[in-house]
């Protein structure tokens, strides 16, 4: 019970922090933490070998993005005004509130552990808010990683398939590869 509450609290803090922080290094680190949290949730249901596929693919993706960003990101990103940060915090707090009031109702038709559902929904909503607030390529990719991690925590509790795990892993790495490609991390062909 205490561990579950602790996990929920960490998920809330991580989701709030990723909406607020400006430095891309911290954002990537927070996505890695979110992937780790997802792994902790999934490993309670699945064999460790299968669950670790998700963690490894997620971290590989983060590493790929970090490598790309090291070469392409502009130094010294402008920090947003305090009012903007308050607005973002309010938005994500609204998301937590939404999850809090709807999680039990969702639990009626998704027969999974409440902790998994709650954390999954928190990440899902955070991913959506993140995607709504930031529009550049790398943030879109990070938003999608958070969104998919949330869904993965919920869906893994419903369906335990090796094939789905494999395809999901491929999707996560492909999205990161795509982000890296769109940011100019590597070139494909020389059509342009």
């Amino acid at each position: 019970m205490i561990i579950n509450t602790l996990l929920i609290l960490i998920a809330i803090v991580a989701s709030g922090a990723i909406i607020l922080v400006e430095d891309w290094r911290y954002r990537l680190a927070l996505v890695a933490i979110i992937e780790l949290l997802g792994f902790i949730m999934i490993v309670q249901i699945w064999p460790i070998a299968l669950a670790s596929v998700k963690l490894i693919s997620g971290w590989m993706g983060v590493a790929l993005l970090a490598a790309t960003f090291t070469f392409t990101s502009p130094r010294g990103e402008p920090s947003s005004p305090i009012s903007s940060r308050i607005f973002r915090l309010m938005l994500v707090a609204f998301g937590w509130l939404l999850v809090l009031v709807s999680a039990e109702r969702f639990n009626e038709w998704l027969p999974i552990s409440y902790t998994n559902l709650f954390i999954g929904l928190v990440f899902l909503i955070t991913g959506m808010i993140y995607l709504a607030l930031r529009m550049n390529t790398i943030d879109t990719v990070l938003g999608l990683l958070i969104f998919f991690e949330g869904f993965d925590v919920i869906y893994s509790s419903l369906e335990g398939s090796a094939l789905i795990t494999a395809i999901f892993g491929i999707i996560i790495i492909s999205i990161c590869l795509l982000g890296s490609y769109l940011e100019g991390g590597f070139r494909f062909g020389d059509s342009e």
Binding site: W109, L124, M128, L131, M135, T137, T140, G143, L144, F147, F148, F151, Y155, L158, E159, S161, A162, L163, I164, A166, I167, F168, I170, I171, S174, I175, L178, Y181, L182, G184, R187, F188, G189, D190, S191, E192
Partner: protein
């Protein structure tokens, strides 16, 4: 040999080889053209159903390919669709060769189509959403111009399709239970809502259609239009597969009513937006939204003829938009003007381009003697019998489009005041290419059944939708 190996795995392997050979542009282009046409012809001369084989189907493939406890099933429906898709890819790559365009469609086109087909082939088909996502990622690499100042379109496309994946997967999980034991009314509504929302994101139903014109505007038409033409067709076929596969979904009247509403919203908003659009690429994108809307209206009829009409519309879409894309490419190559005014005096600058543009436009709207005419007429007749208001709205939107096309016709045939009209220079091969498609469109208008029967065979296997 299994059919999935032929139409899914082999193209994937060939695509990998083409990546290695990509520095030899000509060689890789011709390899992709040959592969695509061979795969398309194989679909014609092979069968996966030996009982109903025709005399010219001399090769037999096993329809089921098992993989990690799941299967890829390329049955006769999908075999025919794969044939159509590979024919289309073959012609598109041929166009790239004829018009001398370097594109990432070679070698990624084969990968993209392999994933498109695999998403329709996977059993249990609730997994299709994941393969759709992979197809989307491949298509973004294929389409996105890394040097473009804005990548909003492809990013929005990626986000909307990604939003659809969890919704469709969850609905699939619900409905998979319903295959074994009947689901209750509440569950059915929830699953339908999830599935509906998923398809709304995937099809670009209003208000989630903004990625379509953005992709058209921000990227080169030679890549973006391939995506915009093919992706909704794949989603519509997936929708038909879901409708055929789940009896609870099929018997839920709200589903077909919703499809009608979605289709109508796409047709109406698409025609309104197109009416005021001045950018040619965005204009074509809106026409594609209308075309998808018409397909949804056909399926929403909840009749066998509606299902057939939807695939007949696929033929019209593939044919007309292929021609429009390449004529627009020729015009933009000449004066890099994306404005709709670039059609001015087109007939006098190049009769081949002018005529093919005009016939393609008329095919889209369903003017008499074009391939679109019998399909649109039949759709209006069925809509009129089903719901007059829906029919009135569909005709109204076609009216909007007709007005634009008539205005464009005047533009194409109008002489400018300039004495030295700048001619569009096209090579003999390009002229022959245009001529071939002019003749194809005229022939398909005169003898529509010859061409459309092949398309109808892509849904003949959906026994609960067409019988």
């Amino acid at each position: 040999m299994t059919s999935a190996f032929v139409w899914i795995i082999m193209p994937l392997i060939l695509s990998m080889i083409l990546i290695i050979l990509s520095r030899y542009l000509r060689l890789s282009n011709w390899l992709q053209i040959t592969t695509s046409f061979v795969l398309a012809i194989l679909a014609l001369v092979s069968t996966t159903d030996p009982v109903n084989r025709s005399p010219f189907q001399v090769i037999e493939f096993d329809p089921v390919f098992n993989f990690l406890g799941r299967s890829l099933v390329v049955d006769s429906n999908l075999r025919n669709l794969a044939g159509i898709f590979y024919f289309f890819l073959g012609f598109w790559t041929l166009a790239l060769q004829v018009f001398n365009v370097r594109s990432r469609i070679v070698p990624l086109g084969l990968t993209f189509f392999a994933f498109v087909i695999s998403s329709l082939a996977v059993e249990p088909f609730l997994y299709s959403a994941l393969l759709v996502e992979i197809a989307v990622i491949v298509s973004v690499i294929m389409v996105a111009d890394t040097n473009a100042t804005s990548k909003k379109g492809v990013l929005r496309y990626l986000v909307f399709f990604s939003f659809g994946v969890p919704l469709v997967l969850l609905a699939g999980w619900y409905l998979a239970g319903g295959e074994i034991t009947p689901v209750n009314e509440g569950q059915l509504i929830q699953a339908t809502l999830l599935l509906g929302l998923g398809f709304v994101f995937w099809l670009g139903v209003f208000p989630f259609q903004s990625w379509i014109p953005l992709i058209g505007e921000e990227n080169r038409p030679t890549e973006s239009m391939l995506l915009l033409i093919v992706m909704p067709v794949m989603i519509v076929m997936l929708l038909l597969k879901y409708l055929n596969g789940f009896v609870w979904l099929r018997e839920f009247q709200l589903v077909f009513q919703a499809l009608t509403v979605f289709g109508l919203s796409m047709v109406l908003t698409g025609s309104l937006w197109a009416f005021f659009e001045q950018n040619t690429n965005r204009f074509l994108s809106y026409l594609m939204i209308i075309s998808t809307g018409m397909m949804l209206l056909s399926i929403g009829l909840n009749q066998p003829s509606g299902t057939y009409l939807a695939v007949n519309l696929v033929f019209v879409r593939l044919c007309a938009f292929f021609v429009l894309t390449w004529t627009v490419f020729i015009i933009q190559r000449e004066d890099s003007d994306n404005s709709i005014n670039s059609f001015q005096a087109l007939f006098f600058r190049s009769p081949y381009v002018g005529i093919s543009t005009l016939i393609a436009f008329f095919t889209v709207v369903g003017m008499p003697l074009t391939a679109g005419f019998p399909v649109m007429q039949s759709l209006y007749a069925h809509l009129s019998a089903a719901n007059r208001w829906v029919n009135f709205s569909a005709i109204l939107s076609s009216g909007f489009i007709s007005i634009i096309f008539i205005r464009l016709s005047f533009m194409i045939f109008s002489q400018t005041r300039e004495t030295n009209l700048k001619q569009i220079s096209i090579t003999t091969m390009e002229k022959l290419f245009c001529l071939f498609f002019i003749l194809l469109m005229i022939a398909s208008g005169l003898f529509p059944n010859v061409f459309m029967t092949g398309f109808e065979s892509t849904v003949n296997g959906f026994e609960f939708l067409v019988k």
